[in-house]
């Protein structure tokens, strides 16, 4: 079977530090894949290499059979991306930003207009609002970023920390939209370090720490009856509180 996203031996080293040390990951078509990992695990680096924003030192990334680095145009057509912390062209209003993204993708103007209006409406961003994206709140920025990634109806969505710093109402809305998107046969992979979200909505999960995949599979297999948090702490390894430290608090 072809995977929606397949990473083989992806590796990246920054100066003297290995950020990602050979990641193998296969994301089945139609899955809702969560990439879990502590801060600094290499999630953003891995996803950046997977979508063609960061050149890997070794390894391959293919999107629905198209290699991201040798056949970028075909791969990028299938792909919707929301990079974390990447600023958008934030001196545009929401509507202008969506129009720009759509036209950059080579979509006809009429389609861009219709979809942009619908997205702005559904995401409660206000079609006629003249606020610049730079003045949006964190939640609104995530929503407009998601709208930009969805606009050209990609088959595969790669989201970096979509639920970070988002209020519960916006988070629920984003979750609903993503679930509907997966239900119609598309694929989502997103990174997070929030267990509850991953546990609630994902079909598959992989745990990444110190640049390596420690465990991956369907959520039921990975959990094996335990809570995802227990699995995570056990796999990643961490300090367990004894109750004695920080007594002065």
């Amino acid at each position: 079977m072809t995977f929606a996203l397949a990473l083989h031996g992806l590796a990246k080293r920054f100066a003297d530090k290995v950020a990602v040390g050979g990641v193998d990951l296969e994301v089945p078509t139609g899955s809702f894949y969560g990439l879990l990992g502590p801060n600094g695990a290499g999630k953003t680096t891995t996803l950046s290499m997977a979508v063609g924003l960061l050149r890997p030192d070794a390894g391959t990334a293919t999107v629905l059979g198209h290699d991201v680095w040798t056949d970028p145009l075909a791969a990028k057509r299938m792909l919707g991306v929301m990079p974390d912390g990447a600023r958008l062209f934030d001196r545009l209003t929401g509507a202008e930003l969506l129009a720009c993204h759509g036209l950059l993708r080579g979509m006809p103007a009429a389609v861009v207009d219709q979809r942009a209006r619908e997205l702005l409406d559904v995401l409660a961003l206000g079609d006629a609002d003249r606020t610049l994206v730079v003045d949006y709140s964190a939640g609104m920025k995530k929503k407009i970023g998601l709208a930009c990634a969805l606009l050209h109806a990609p088959k595969m969505l790669v989201l970096d920390e979509p639920f970070e710093a988002v209020d519960p109402v916006s988070a629920a809305l984003i979750r609903d939209i993503l679930q509907r998107y997966v239900a119609s046969g598309n694929t989502v992979i997103f990174s997070s370090h929030v267990m509850e979200v991953v546990e609630r909505i994902c079909t598959h999960v992989a745990i990444l720490a110190q640049g390596r995949i420690l465990t991956a599979g369907t959520i039921a297999d990975v959990r094996a009856g335990r809570s995802l948090e227990d699995v995570f702490v056990q796999v990643v390894g961490g300090r367990t509180a004894t109750g004695q430290e920080l007594a002065w608090l």
């Binding site: 100066a15 960061l54 792909l79 990079p83 600023r87 720009c100 036209l103 209006r117 610049l132």
Partner: protein, 547 residues
Amino acid sequence: MAVTPWHFVGLKLRVMRNGLRGQRWRIALFVIGLFFGAWFSVIGFVLFSATGFARTDTSLVLVGGLGGAAVVVGWLLMPLVFFGVDETLDPARFALLPLDRRTLVSGMFAAALAGVPAFATLAATSGLAVAALLRGGPVAGALQAVGVVAGLLLCVSLSRATTSAFSAMLRSRRVRDLAAILLAVLAALLGPLQIGLLAAARTADWNVLAGVARVLGWTPLAAAYTLGLDVVEGRWWAVPLKLLIVAGTIAALLWWWSVTLENAMVGTATTTSGRGTRETPHTSPTTRLYPVLLRGLPRSRSGALVALQVRYWWRDTRRRANLITFAVVGMFVPLMVNIGSRGLIEGSAAIPPSLTTVSASMVFVGVLGGVGLANQFGYDGTAYSANIIAGVPGAAELRARVAGFSFYLGPLILVIPVALALVLHRPGWIPSMWGAAAAAYGCGVAINLFVSVLGAFSLPETTNPFAVNTGAGVTKSLFSFAAMLCTLLLSVPVFAMSTLAEETWVWAGLPAGVLYGGTALWLGTRFAGRLLDRRMPELLSAITPRR
């Protein structure tokens, strides 16, 4: 334990050191910066101290008054138009700490003093103290040494206060026009000064210059640098008065700085009043993306890229600051060069305007225009990732960027020759001037496209349009300098034509210049575009700010 200025100095040095760690090219640039600083120090020291050996006091008057004023004006203008401010210590970082205003300002001030430019200035101007020592004995030398230190404090506080105030102005979108006018006035003040100097220098009337220098000596510009002279000439009463002038100016500047600093700390960055809730009529999103003047462009990828660039050159304060600087410098420098050399002030010398000088200043305008694109990707920052993900081809990207930039530069480049030609009463030269400017602009843009792909650097994510990262100031000026040099080389045919074949150039200048510049531009977008296609991820990491 109380927070002292030493903490700030230590913090700045540590931040600088950590910024250099493991970055070989940054270290190299830092060393180059040190080298230039040392060079400036030695040259300045020799110039200033040499006056001690002169037979009369006139040279001391000239060097102290005019040289001192030049140093101060340099500190005022260099950060605004060229180098940017070293924002190693961003005031916003201190917003949450319990520091009172006095501690913060004195600390930031001390940190600003701990830098290569401050040391170089101190070393160069200390030559004045040596000169005063030679001419007037130890007391004169000592007092001038005090003056040199006071002068340095004045320079640093002046540059900090003006950049802080200026950036605060540009930050608030409502006052941006005021900022433009301020810069224009600053540049305009330079004009008469230079014309006066040129006129005086041409007639070699040193007494006129000395008179100007003596007057400057009573202004904050040069008061600190003429203390030794006053002692030498026996005007002891002037010393406390001038010290008072300098101290008062420093106090006022520091107060001004502390006010704007607080604004910078609490972040008045998001002044959106008047925008927010206003609803636009029901135009479609794609229509709204295009500025009204560009509504005729096709609703396509290229059209959207151009619209985006046009929007950004105006809405991004850093880019806008760049445009304003170009407009002012590009208008005033040619005027000053051409009028100044004719000595209009005295009305005496009727040296006719020269086509070579005029063409050269048009080349300058074109070269300066191209430099605006040198770090075009740096302005975008990580937002550029959207274009990579959308798979925009390099050549299309660059063509659109050139078009968007030229939307603003084109009219300016058309208007500047007209203004200059009318002032010079040579309307017949306008076409050839357009040609020279077009040729230089085409070459400049083409060269700077390569610079923008190969030498991009990240800008800090602040709203201060003049902020650059440590070391990046050197990169910026170094790359701009190299690019300007290359462009000048490419513009040699224009000089040659306008000098050797003046008669022909008057009518052939326009078509030849446009053809030459257009060809350079075409080749530039084509080959720089291919380069960009191969380097997109590397470019993105170069412009991603280090967190």
